[in-house]
Symmetry: C2
Subunit: 192 residues, 2 copies
DNA sequence: GTCTATAACGAGATAGAC
DNA sequence: GTCTATCTCGTTATAGAC
């Protein structure tokens, strides 16, 4: 097939909208903002995503899929649990360096105003992450590279919410180091 | 002087607006929402708080002051560091039980869209909390009721962001127990 | 698929009477 | 201090031409 000088329009819309949501929140960005950046009219946006709720759902679905791929890649690129946890934390650091919040973390703040399908997607994102983390944690405990007590799933929930909170606060201060200190503490407590 | 029934109109406005922000976020609530609940016209709201930014600043100022009083009361009502930390966590649990997010936690999600004075207030809230916590943590370490390594201020920052994140995620799931599990883990790790 | 044009509504905010 | 009335602007969304 011939090369397409135009990147897929829907994908460009999602790229811009994703950043706007991560920076401003779901209720603070508008179709007009997206249209201006994508250099298209507002009406054309509605052709790709009929409603804001549909756009929101698409954003979450894509974010979850991308995160799942990243988690799978961690399993390929690393061999022990500690390295996997570090790589996991690096995913968050990368987002924060762009002065963005985790998409689903910021949507959690808007949670009560979201349509049902978006809510479900946000919770599914957290559950995805916790399931993956619980696997890595359990693996580390069995291999004696990590130490902790109680269910791995409980610890996984703790890690996810601590990282989300650390992103939230560190971004406000504009200090990525604040986030990195939290990561260090979390990892440190796992080898005691 | 005579009792002033007018004086508490401002307070009633703040009560309603505070709840709306905590539940919906700063950009999702409107003067119309507040007016309807307070049973007053929108125009009258502007008499008390000329702009939404001014209302936001007043919300933060009052929230900070109330929190400071609560922290001072913890010092009166408890005698050791562990009890103080538990009482501190209970402040958050009380908010979460009402299906609300911490006011400043939710404003942190909206941070990039906030006017300067509101941003400063949000950061000051976090700093207030961390300063208080650092004092309690250091006190506990000296009295051997708490164990941890490194600066108390770093640990205080960790605790604040973990609690904010735990509230954020637990509220989305509608599970206060999720938050309580995080509190238990944080406290448990401090006596090891 | 993108456009112009516009509908329909709600937002924050103001003027001025009472 | 509260009201009615209004302004101006931005919002999501739709109709229909090209």
């Amino acid at each position: 097939m011939a090369s397409r000088p135009m990147a897929d329009t829907a994908a460009r819309i999602l790229d811009v909208a994703e950043r706007l949501v991560q920076v401003q929140g779901f209720n603070a960005f508008s179709y007009a903002d997206v249209a201006a950046e994508v250099q298209i009219r507002k009406a054309s946006l509605h052709h790709h995503f009929p409603t804001k709720a549909a756009l929101g759902q698409a954003l979450i679905a894509r974010y979850r899929a991308r995160f799942s791929r990243a988690l799978a890649e961690i399993h390929v690129g690393t061999s022990d649990a500690r390295a996997r946890l570090k790589a996991y934390a690096r995913l968050y650091t990368g987002v924060l360096r762009k002065r963005r919040m985790c998409l689903c973390g910021v949507l959690a703040a808007d949670f009560e105003t979201l349509p049902g399908p978006m809510r479900q997607g946000v919770l599914a994102f957290f559950s995805d992450n916790e399931a993956w983390l619980a696997g890595v944690l359990e693996e580390g405990r069995r291999g004696k590279t990590l130490q902790f007590q109680g269910p791995a799933s409980t610890l996984a929930a703790f890690v996810v919410s601590s990282l989300e909170g650390a992103m939230l606060v560190a971004r406000s201060y504009g200090r990525v180091e604040r986030f990195e200190a939290v990561v260090k503490k979390l990892l440190g407590d796992l080898q005691r």
